[in-house]
């Protein structure tokens, strides 16, 4: 039964890709229908799971026996437990809404069928990722989403810049994938198996060094897929893809795969505290990085991408805080799926109305022309900055709390970073909203902003409802925490963690900082009327505009040495290896030339050579008989 979750969209993808142009007329409907049926199936499975007692909630399904090599046996198996069902519902639910949205958004595109095929492919791969019962099965889904991301970012590959962006995303993902490969290899060497259940059983037998190694490798994999520091450079460029892609893949689902991986591997990280600290530190760095970059971006999609990077930093930070933080990281992931996808769809709606213009400097006062978009976007905005009672308030504040309660200097640093990040988030998100929907009209005369069709604003509205209500629903009675506890906190010591500050104080501090951030943004941009990007800005703005020099750094440290290495290897190959091979040839020819001189044709020289031979023979006899 679980297999159908993956099978339905996969069938859709195959059918649409192989069917070709004949399916152009109804391909999108088929794809949306299959995605919706996956969601329905997911709901049914969730229903079944609710009815079961807590211990039996994990459902297994073995599809087929995959690898059997000596002592290494891996089955293609699926595991549906409390953690995966959350993701299943998120992926299929948000995915179906985005399918519906894309019917209208891509209606003018000739390749719409191919787009839907790739979307279905992505859905099935992501489902395989979260449903796999071993690291190897997860890896198949991992690679699948990487492939789908590449295909979708470079969907309009007529433009070389977009194709390059797709390549960049894929290559940086690949670096992360190496981490996952190494993690699988090390776990095979350490445990002899790669399935979650096996490793969980024997985790406490392994040495801390091995566990730390696996943890670091998994962290590298997560940074690649979730665009965390240091592999974060691809997310901004990935906005080259169509907006529904950015909404689905680079906001709600694929980039959260890293969080899923770390949460799923909680049994490893809980036993390797150094790796866990590394995870938290990476999360903290990234949330500040993304926030800083987001303050200077004028492209609405790139600003939202930087925001995604920052919010995932929060999630990774939460996942790096141990059993206390996993549930809140997942909660923030789910709420983020709602409001970020909603905001991306809103940005797509604004672009649709403004003739695909992405520069926010050319927007302004759009709330009068696109009311529904403005309202749904606004609700998502309130959620992300953490205003109660919206979703973000609950998840983000809980994360800040857990960070502060981590104890000692770690607690101060991480909690402080999270608070500062909240303030900056408030600033730049307010900047986006004000520049787009408020302030003064700055667009050209040939722009005719209009509201989007129902197929576009309906998904946005549904997601806005989610942004409003989901936080309360998840936190009511610690619902999500208790739901996930058997998976992420089953073996946690229930120690009395010290609370640095009471939760109410934390919320007050957070809200104050948020208010300050909003106030600064309002003050700065309330009456903005300059449609051009200002040039005389401070050095900090310039650096932030260049994504904190991430591309320059990557080029200088990795790309140029890599190219130099390749060039030198080519030189080595040509001169040394080819040289050696052709050198053998020339040596043969040369020695042949030299030996040719012996063929004088004179009998006497041959006789002389024979004499020399006899002399050597006698010399040998003399030496032997010494």
């Amino acid at each position: 039964m679980i297999g159908y979750l993956i099978g339905l969209p996969l069938f859709g993808a195959a059918f649409l890709l192989l069917g070709g142009r004949r399916t152009n007329k109804w391909g999108h409907l088929l794809a949306t229908g299959l995605s919706a049926s996956s969601f329905a199936l997911g709901l049914k499975l969730f229903n079944d799971m609710l009815a079961l007692p807590t211990e039996d909630r994990a459902m297994h399904q073995k599809l087929f026996s995959w690898i059997q090599v000596g002592g290494f046996n891996v089955d293609a198996g699926l595991l549906l437990d409390q953690l995966s069902i959350c993701f299943v519902l998120l992926i299929t639910g948000v995915g179906t809404l985005i399918h519906i949205y894309s019917i209208a958004y891509m209606s003018h595109d000739l390749d719409r069928r191919r787009f839907f095929a790739y979307l279905n492919l992505f859905i099935s791969a992501m489902l395989l990722l979260v449903l796999g019962d071993s690291y190897l099965n997860l890896y198949v889904g991992w690679e699948g989403v990487g492939l789908a991301s590449y295909l979708l970012i470079g969907f309009w590959n007529q433009k070389p810049a977009y194709a390059t962006a797709a390549k960049k995303a894929f290559v940086m993902n690949r670096v992360g994938d190496m981490g996952l490969s190494f993690a699988i290899m090390i776990s095979f060497v350490t445990f002899g198996a790669v399935s979650f259940s096996e490793i969980e059983k024997h985790a406490h037998h392994a040495s801390t060094a091995a566990l730390t190694a696996i943890g670091i490798m998994l962290l590298i994999a997560a940074t690649g897929k979730s665009a965390q520091f240091p592999l974060q450079a691809w997310l901004g460029d990935a906005m080259a893809g169509p907006t529904p892609v950015s909404a689905l893949i680079h906001a709600a689902t694929m980039v959260t795969a890293g969080v899923y991986l770390i949460t799923r591997s909680n049994f490893i990280f809980d036993l390797a505290p150094n790796a866990q600290t590394a995870v938290a530190v990476v999360g903290a760095i990234t949330l500040l990085f993304g926030a800083l970059v987001g303050t200077a971006k004028d492209d609405i999609k790139k600003a939202l991408a930087a925001s995604t990077m920052s919010q995932i930093g929060y999630m990774i930070l939460g996942a790096g805080l141990g059993p206390a933080g996993y549930a809140f990281a997942i909660m923030h992931l789910l709420t983020h799926g709602f409001f970020k996808a909603g905001m991306f769809l809103g940005a797509g709606s604004v672009m649709h109305g403004m003739n695909d213009e992405v520069n926010m400097r050319k927007y302004g006062a759009l709330r009068k022309f696109m009311p529904i978009t403005a309202i749904t976007f606004g609700l998502g905005y309130l959620a992300i900055i953490g205003v109660p009672p919206f979703a973000g308030f609950y998840s983000k504040d809980k994360l800040i709390e857990v960070a502060l309660n981590a104890g000692g200097a770690k607690g101060y640093l991480l909690g402080g970073a999270a608070l500062v990040g909240a303030a900056i988030t408030a600033f730049y998100m307010s900047r986006v909203v004000i520049l787009t929907f408020f302030s003064n009209k700055r667009w050209d005369d040939n722009a005719h902003p209009h509201e989007s069709p129902i197929l576009m604003w309906l998904p946005m509205a549904i997601l806005a409802i989610g942004s409003v209500t989901s936080g309360f629903l998840f936190t009511n009675g610690d619902a999500l925490q208790n739901w996930l506890a058997p998976v992420v906190a089953s073996h946690a010591e229930h120690a009395e963690h010290s609370e640095l500050l009471p939760p109410m104080t934390v919320s007050v501090i957070a809200l104050t900082l948020v208010a300050i951030g909003v106030a600064i943004a309002v003050f700065k941009y309330r009456a903005e009327s300059n449609p051009n990007t200002p040039e005389n800005v401070s050095i900090f703005t310039r650096i932030a505009r260049k994504d904190l020099m991430q591309d320059a750094f990557n080029e200088a440290v990795f790309m140029r040495p890599g190219q130099a290495l390749t060039k030198s290897l080519v030189v080595v190959d040509e001169s040394i290896i080819d040289g050696a091979v052709s050198g053998i040839g020339s040596a043969a020819v040369g020695s042949g030339q030299m030996l040719r001189k012996l063929q004088t044709g004179f009998v006497r020289s041959y006789a002389a050579l024979m004499l020399v031979g006899i002399a050597l023979l006698l010399l040998a006899i003399w030496v032997v008989t010494q």
Binding site: A608, L611, V612, A615, L618, T625
Partner: protein, 263 residues
């Protein structure tokens, strides 16, 4: 004879004297064979070496072999060499200038090396027993002993070698045979050729050697009717040697005057 045969087995003083005189001479003759320019001189020196070897054989209790050496080698083989030398060019001189680079050095050094090594190895070799001598082997006489050995133990080799001899003779005949390319002209054809040739001047054939001769020296060329010496009338060997005389020395005065008046 008895004295000689009796003493042959012992390494007595007479043999030592013979050895110490003849051996250096033989070696000198061999070196001379290398150095002399004319091939005939080489052949003569070679014959001398063969003769010395015959003496060595006789001194070493091998009288049969010594006589065979003289008869076959010196008598037949060396004479054959001399005949062929005469055929091929008794006067042909080898220039001492070496045309192939480096071969003189290679050959001399390699050969000296061989010689030195051989001498050293022989010097180090020991038989483990003193020289036995052929006194007992030659008890019935050397020829009888050899005949006994030859026709019992080595009869098969003997027969094969005789077959080889016959083959060699046949081979020489085949090689020396020259086939006519054109059929032999009959007397009738020769006569026709004479009369139908370029001019009737040749109808009677050329004059026999000596018709125009005023002298019968082999080394003076014959004169053609117009007074020039005929190049073909002198032996090539003499020409090569350069011992050709000028015929005008022998001209009679009045003939010369007559020839001058007629012109």
């Amino acid at each position: 004879m008895n004295f000689v045969l009796e003493n042959i087995g012992k390494t007595a003083t007479p043999e030592a004297i013979q050895f110490y005189i003849m051996a250096p001479l033989a070696i000198a003759a061999a070196i001379g064979m290398l150095i002399v320019k004319k091939a005939v001189h080489s052949a003569i020196l070679m014959a001398y070496v063969m003769l010395s070897l015959a003496f060595f054989y006789i001194a070493q209790d091998a009288p049969f072999l010594g006589i065979v050496q003289i008869v076959v080698y010196t008598g037949a083989v060396m004479m054959l060499f001399l005949f062929i030398l005469m055929l091929v060019g008794v006067d042909s001189k080898d220039s001492l200038v070496e045309t192939i680079k480096g071969i003189r050095f290679t050959a001399i050094s390699a050969s000296l090396g061989i010689g030195l090594l051989l001498v050293t190895l022989i010097g180090k070799a020991t038989f483990g027993f003193p020289a036995v001598g052929l006194k007992s082997a030659n008890a019935d006489g050397n020829v009888q002993a050899i005949a006994y050995k030859l026709f019992s133990t080595y009869v098969w080799a003997f027969e094969v070698v005789s077959a080889l001899l016959i083959t060699a003779a046949l081979g020489a005949m085949v090689l020396a045979h020259s086939q006519r390319v054109t059929p032999r002209a009959t007397q009738r054809e020769l006569a026709i050729r004479r009369f139908r040739g370029s001019s009737l001047n040749d109808a009677a054939g050329k004059p026999a050697p000596g018709v125009f001769a005023r002298y019968n020296g082999v080394d003076v060329p014959a004169l053609l009717p117009d007074g020039t010496p005929a190049v073909e009338s002198i032996n090539d060997t003499l020409k090569a040697r350069g011992t050709v005389r000028d015929p005008r020395e022998y001209a009679l005065n009045e003939i010369a005057n007559t020839e001058g008046e007629e012109r």
